[in-house]
Amino acid sequence: MDGYGMQNQIACIRRSLFDQGYLDEQFIQLEELQDDANPNFVQEIVTLFYTDSTRLIQNIELTLNSRPINFSKLDDYMHQFKGSSSSIGAKKVTSECAVFRQYCAAGNAEACIRNFQHIKQEHAILRKKLEFYFQMMGQAAVAQTR
């Protein structure tokens, strides 16, 4: 595929991420902070998010598995998780976190556990999509230098 074709494909991938609700305008804010001096900012902060949120997920799992469940601790972790996902524009993940916090506030363990599965799924789906997106951008950058 030539450089122009790749750009087209990348633009489509990007648009679908927004259209399908995976990303919101905060992601655009991140893109606008990228410049020649900081050409990989978006990828860097997304990578940081996945490293950090993986740790949070582990902590949340542990907390959900302990009895009795410490809802206060759960809410604390989820507050952090929601904050970070909101900061990178991860729309679906953020809204699932908001739902979780409501169940948490109500002390509804079952709903929390169920909802957490959704969070993990959305988290993983977005990761794959973004990895693919960054990969394509990397390839396009290489194609342009040819």
Binding site: E32, L33, I45, H79, Q80, G83, S84, S86, S87, I88
Partner: protein, 189 residues
Amino acid sequence: MGNMATQTRFHVLAVDDSLIDRKLIERLLKTSSYQVTAVDSGSKALEFLGLNGENEDEERNSSVESVSAADEDHQVGVNLIITDYCMPGMTGYDLLRKIKQSSSFKDIPVVIMSSENIPSRINRCLEDGAEEFFLKPVKLSDVNKLRPHLMKGITTKNEMQSNTNKRKGSEEIQSPDRTRPRYNELEVV
């Protein structure tokens, strides 16, 4: 051109326990040409300022009362503090109070950030001295609101001290002589 290196930029101290948000605020501030020090807690912020919550007089060790142009290279005063509200240990509100209670630092503008839109919280912060309250995620348009608060700091100081080094459009700062930087654009985690 030779003077560029010695021209002081505004220095913002950013406080946030979230790694992602620290990276974000740092980028936002640097994009706006501010010098940034990012720390992950209120206590680290106080430590950076040289305020250990103890006797403030211990920190008044500087013999330089007024600042001359020659000292600019060696000064890293803090011109604004931007802090997250929800942090373990010392909250952003606690930090705000400590800053405002400090005779050395009470005039440094403080801005609070929070992911939660709680009017009573917002009002309390503003009433107790915060200049602005930003809802997270913080955007470039929010950071643009910082400039007037920073410029106000210069005007006040220019009125108080005779400044023979006025340059057009300069962001030259007569920084408080009590801040004692240990870090320079390094992230403290």
